[in-house]
Amino acid sequence: MRPRRHAADDLPPRLVAVADALCRRLRPDQVRVGATETHLYRRDASNMSSPAGIVCFAESTDDVRAVVEVAHRTGTPFVARGSGTGLAGGAVPPEGAIVVSTAKMNRILSVDHVNRLAWVEPGVLNLDLSRRIAHLGVHFAPDPSSQQTCSIGGNVANNSGGPHCLADGVTSAHVHALEVVLPDGSVTVFGGEDPEPEGYDLRGAFVGSEGMLGIATKVCVRLMHNPPAVATLLLDFATVRDGAQLVSDVIADGMVPAAMEMMDQLCLRAVEQYIHAGLPVEQAAALLIEVVGLPAAVEADVGRIGELAAACGVGGIRVAADEAERALLWKGRKSAFGAIANIEPNYYLHDTVVPRHRLPDVLEQVYEIAGRYDLKVLNVFHAGDGNLHPLLLYDATEEGVRERVKAAGEEIVRASVAAGGVLSGEHGIGLEKRDLMPLMFSQVDLAAQEAMRQAFDPALLANPNKVLPNPATCGDIHRIPEGAWI
């Protein structure tokens, strides 16, 4: 049986043999080599791309194992793919790679709402999970802005965060166990429903490994109680510095709100044009703070935040009166990226973390860098975590603009790390920041990460050439191809 082809067949002979082998293990309609699929799966939501060699649609653990066994036997690189919403190029296929889509593995297998855990397949969408268990009074805490479309498998690969991770932590803290197909095709379980499984924390090592240690085929997630009381506040400030100061003051005062999100003026204006929520568009910045918990604690925290905000020179404080207003304010935050289309057709979203007390200084640097490159920049970010998300706005048809955007982005990363921060808070390293890893890690540090990776994947077939720069073998194989940045 041959895989379906929809275009002129220019598949290299080596991949023809691999595709034939795959078709002996999967149904032919699960194995695609046509131009439609190999181009469709050439990129994620980042600005990088490279065509897939072969695309496989897995429907079960057995399917994934079959593909990985073929890959291992034939020495073919492979990359798992969820919804393709990653922002660092992690799912961009290595040259000639098999793309293993887990999107069709989207069943919720079991839910234990009393002990608060659920087994799900990796293709389950983040928000679908929380919606489908809402009637049980529980939810999955990580909530990336892409949560309507991103998959749990992708969350595992990137150790994803989101606005509500300030209080409850990122994905790693919400994964009890993983069924994994290792790069040699063996299937095992890391972690467990029990709290102290034998051996090394391979579960923890796997979460955030960006597809380079194997493919997760089942995930046991931790669920959290839905809060009985919620207060959502929008506070506006005449300067970004005042808003950032409140963030530090709230934490130093002993409160950990569920979320503390900041939007700067350009963001407020773009969003207001889009949702008409009466946002404070004349102010330099606004903070969206959400406090959750039992009623007395929520009331006390809201009162205390008001006092601290007054000391920081807050302009106005708007408390959402009902669920509809709360949803509207959050819609403003979560639709910021879409609203940008009113300003420029393209944007480049960055992701770094700095110590909270450095937020005002680093933000000033971000504005200065963007100005120097003649670019508009819009900031909407997880202020509580110090997790910056500058969006550089541009029109890709303008000659030379991409180089400016890329250079400005790199300067922002350097400024963040120089301020005591890190390369990425939730998007991951992928291809995007691979070559910036030495800003944060020495050669000795990187060698330790490489050692862990090679213990899992001695043949280096699982999503190779991501995350870790490799100066020792910096030939063509490790080069980010010209034109990959689109």
């Binding site: 932590g169 934490i251 604690a297 808070g425």
Partner: protein, 294 residues
């Protein structure tokens, strides 16, 4: 810290078997080989960042005291040293509410088998830069590297906390209470740790008819079992006084040693490869294994 990381690395050296000790409260070092100690001392406490940095040889109780002065705490079980707690990787009775010890570790600097200081993770409360060696190292019992310095995420101390007891079904409490910090059960009685605003705690306690208790019960020390939380109801057939179970978590403090658990062959091979890559000569804590049956 009383020792620099470089001095600690020199003590570990580059060849020959070596073991590490803290206060010896969690099993102590491997005997009959040279023994080193990690640097001790608190480097910085920063409540506004919710972080603390300290040497791995710092006593847990000293760290807890320094944090309490700033209204903060970190989820380490009491006693012994910070590094010892991390090497063993066990959480304390607050795991249900606070999460696991491993999740509080942001960055470590450890000494490798090659005698080099290696950094893993990052200093901020959120970080996904590179592979997560911190998680791999917590609970690795000094077989992959020796902790030198660590940065933890801290949490503010709650306005109020209190232990309660009731002769009730612990699963009703687990399902009905909002985020209890701990629910313990000995087959007959249930103990609950609640914290938060005093009015909220009082309301929760009243709703479930909870009576104030001195603290948690005495825990049997014969064995520490790790069971899926859904398997805990079956413990009711065990005799009274034989166990205290952490409901919703699965740790069981038992009078008997834990039953042995099988290890999947693929997982065992992976353990061997990790040890080989991180400590090819097998010099760190020789003879110590993290897998049962070794």
């Amino acid at each position: 810290m009383d020792l620099t990381l470089d001095e600690f690395a020199d003590a570990v050296g580059r060849s020959g078997a070596v073991s590490i000790t803290g206060d010896g409260t969690r099993g102590g070092p491997v005997r009959s080989v040279p023994i080193v100690r990690a640097p001790a001392g608190i480097v910085s406490v920063d409540p506004a960042e919710m972080t603390v940095c300290c040497g791995a040889g710092t006593p847990v109780d000293e760290l807890a005291e320094a944090l309490a002065e700033q209204g903060q705490r970190v989820v380490l079980p009491p006693g012994g040293t910070v590094g010892g707690a991390m090497a063993v990787g066990r959480s304390d009775l607050r795991r249900l509410g606070d999460g696991a010890l491993r999740d509080a570790v942001l960055q470590v600097r450890y000494v490798s088998a090659a005698g080099e200081v290696v950094k893993a993770g990052g200093p901020t409360v959120k970080n996904v830069s590179g592979f997560d060696l911190c998680r791999l190292l917590v609970g690795s019992r000094g077989t992959l590297g020796f902790f030198g310095e660590v940065i933890f995420r801290t949490r503010p101390v709650a306005r109020f906390q209190g232990w309660y007891a009731v002769d009730g079904d612990p699963w009703d409490l687990l399902a009905g209470l909002y985020r209890p910090v701990s629910v313990l059960w000995d087959g007959i009685r249930t103990w609950v740790l609640l914290e938060g605003h005093p009015d909220d705690v009082a309301a929760q306690a009243a709703r479930f008819d909870l009576r104030p208790a001195e603290g948690p019960p005495d825990l049997p020390t014969g064995g520490r079992w790790s069971l899926p939380p859904s398997a805990l109801p079956a413990l009711s057939s065990e005799g009274p006084g034989t166990f205290v179970a952490e409901i919703g978590v699965g740790v069981v403090h038992h009078v008997d040693p834990p039953p042995s658990r099988p290890v999947d062959p693929a997982t065992r091979r992976l353990h061997e490869r990790l040890k080989q890559r991180f400590d090819p000569a097998g010099r760190l804590n020789p003879g110590v294994s993290v897998l049962a049956g070794d």
